[in-house]
Amino acid sequence: MIAAEEIERRIREAMPQAEVKVVDTHGGSDHFAAEVIAPEFSGKTLIERHRMVYATVKDVMGGALHALALSTKTPEERGDS
């Protein structure tokens, strides 16, 4: 189990300019969805962006953290569905 705030903290630490919102999707503290809006994503493919975020939770992925759904955008892309 892990807290949404902890995941947010880790992502912000790795990407200081990011807006981060993490929600618990199943209510069991192990399935989350993260929306990350960061200029650091500019020029990066979706795979690269997701790898950046996954790297922040690498040690807990598969253990305390079962799933982390991701939305990764640059500030310019905000508002794209």
Partner: protein, 107 residues
């Protein structure tokens, strides 16, 4: 002779134009993320290969190492790792996935 599971994965990836490593099978997905990804692949109207990692714990671990990606499902198009559930859905919604797959099938 001991199993070379990484070589098995390499063979699967190279020999299938459209491939998904998933939980459950394409007809009976056993996870919401895998199910949503399979649904997208079905919409493409192409033959695709599914590999159930739940039935093969050794391969489950090896797949994550092979693609250096921590989660299942994982989709490969023409031997190239494309992403998991979020990426596949996002690409499909943007109309980027179908052309990539068409190209893989030689169109």
């Amino acid at each position: 002779m001991s199993r070379d599971v990484m070589a098995e994965i390499k063979e699967e990836v190279d020999n299938n134009k459209l491939l998904i490593y998933m939980k459950g099978s394409k007809d009976f997905p056993q996870c919401g993320f895998s199910m949503r990804t399979v649904n997208v692949l079905r919409e493409l109207g192409r033959d695709f290969k599914d590999v159930n990692v739940l039935a093969d714990p050794e391969k489950w671990q090896a797949v994550k190492t092979f693609s250096d990606w921590p989660t299942i499902p994982q989709v490969y198009v023409d031997g190239k790792f494309v992403g998991g559930c979020d990426i596949v859905n996002e690409m499909h919604a943007k109309g980027e996935l179908a052309p990539m797959v068409d190209q893989a099938f030689g169109e």
